[in-house]
Symmetry: C2
Subunit: 329 residues, 2 copies
């Protein structure tokens, strides 16, 4: 199978009703041609996944296809943008048809869910590497940025925290999990849910937002740096956001609490939205969570003093340090 | 040096006068924010370069930065689009500061030349891999597509053909070149010139176009397939488009003519524009070539009968077959 057969067979589909009107010409020419909706801004993000770094060799190809797009859609969600389309550049050791069939199925299923078609890209031979660039639309001035957090704002996170890291620890043999917990957390590691609906619902509500990819505290640091503020985080709340904390006492007790804090505060690969909103907007945040069907938890607040202060249930300072993921640290 | 320091130090620059008004927010948030010019279409393309596949280990980093963007800009040129911006996703074995300084210098110098700023991207650890996605603008209906060639059209190519392949053959020890010829052809291999100005000048003139990346005949095949036509190519003209053919007889004679035909007809990595235009537009093509300062040569014509017919100076059929590059063939 040659390069062009591969593209035709696994990545080219007839335009369907899931294709938004902004795509005039998709795969097959030198460029895709897009028609921006008049008056809308475009949000653009690009993420690269490398075998052995972002996923294990042998990862289920359908899940990998899902994840490669999900982590990009998560960036659109963090800006409050509605997905329009994406390109895929793919380096493959060889043209393995079974792998390609499953990978493209997982990738395009998520694309269909968000009406975000594959419009072009590149295929080449090389160590397995997936690079997706995604676009979305947003009304001018409504993008959720990292720079809008103000002292007195509440700090929220969507969904759960730390499950992906817990699965990674188990898959790498550093901890053991009951089978049902391994299955649930592995699902979170391998098929994260981009919070697109929540991002859209938070337009005009959240003061700042980003998606948690490298770990809660490190990513919170980006909001704080961009906004020139500090934050307080209640670790007695965040620790409850990992699925393991819901286990019966007898099963949960073999986890060191410090390990669960490490997973929730600095685990990485969560792809949840971390956002701030004025205290007066609590009802609006709750309404956005309901409207989007996404759990949202208030985990702390923004303060004028720079830095992150961790507290426990009694409001006492917690002194541990948790390092987020850095590809070159 | 951490991931974020790396981005700040080598890839983030203050917005300057070279930044077009379409970029509202560049590097540093979850997404870049772009403002499409009202009424314009967007052209998008993505290309991935893999070490050992598209370039040798140890390739000069500044030239590699240039080439990574140039091959993407070449796709915009082939559509007649004006560059607006690009993202870069970069997998690096390690954060080598000297390499990064040179790479970013070569990359951003070409970006400045085309007022096409880097607006975002991703950095990660992994086998060296460069993925660029580029956008340009074009008035609706004016994009140069592969599908517009008609019988009777002339067939043109810009610049030179086969030099990059000749350099590759020499660098891999399969042929030897005089030092000045090696230098010149190596420049074409490592620092191709995206034909942006010619692409813009060909709007409304060319009937079909693409950029030659895998070899003239293979890429011509894409135009013929998309347009439902055939073509005749005069190999006595194309062979003169390789720099080696301009050598004095004594130096050139050690090249087998068949080898030079292989380089010009199926060499790859040319990044020249291959385009068609009605015979009535010859003066307009010449004017576009002059206006853009780009040499253009008529190498054949479009015919109704499918397939590619190679002829010699006497108009006699040439029967050799030349295979273009295919990553998975």
């Amino acid at each position: 199978m040659g390069e062009f057969d591969l593209i035709r067979r696994y990545f080219t589909r007839a335009p369907t009703k899931t294709h938004p009107p902004q795509v005039e010409l998709g795969i097959g020419d030198d460029c895709a041609l897009l028609l921006p909706t008049p008056g809308m801004q475009w949000a653009v993000s690009s993420d690269m996944l490398v075998e052995g770094r972002h996923f294990f060799a042998g990862t289920d190809p359908a899940r990998l296809g899902h994840k490669a797009l999900a982590v990009n859609l998560s960036d659109l969600a963090a800006c409050g943008a509605r997905p329009v389309g994406f390109t895929l550049a793919l380096a493959l050791p060889k043209a393995d048809e079974a792998w390609l069939a499953e990978f493209s199925q997982g990738l395009l299923a998520l694309a269909d869910t968000h009406a975000c078609p594959l419009v072009g890209g590149d295929t080449t031979q090389g160590p397995l590497n997936l690079c997706i660039t995604v676009w979305g639309e947003i009304p001018p001035g409504q993008a959720l940025l990292r720079s809008g957090a103000r002292p007195g704002d509440d700090l929220f996170v969507s969904g759960t925290l730390g499950d992906a890291r817990l699965a990674l620890e188990a898959l790498q043999g550093r901890t053991s999990l009951p089978p049902t917990l391994l299955q649930a957390t592995r699902q979170r590691l391998e098929q994260p849910t981009p919070r697109i609906a929540l991002g859209l619902a938070l337009r005009g509500v959240a003061s700042a937002a980003l998606d948690v990819s490298d770990g809660l505290l490190g990513d919170l640091g980006h909001i704080l740096h961009a906004s020139g503020v500090g934050a307080c985080v209640d670790t007695s709340v965040t620790i409850k956001l990992i699925a393991a904390s819901a286990l019966p006492e007898s099963a949960a007790c073999h986890f060191n609490p410090d390990f669960l804090h490490q997973c929730t505060l600095a685990g990485g690969d969560d792809y949840e939205l971390l956002f701030t909103a004025p205290a007066a907007a609590r009802a609006a945040v709750a309404a956005a969570a309901r409207a989007s069907g996404t759990p949202v938890t208030r985990i702390g607040g923004i303060e004028a003093e720079p830095g992150i202060r961790l507290i426990n249930a009694q409001g006492q300072p917690v002194v541990h340090r948790y390092a987020s993921f850095d590809h070159f640290a």
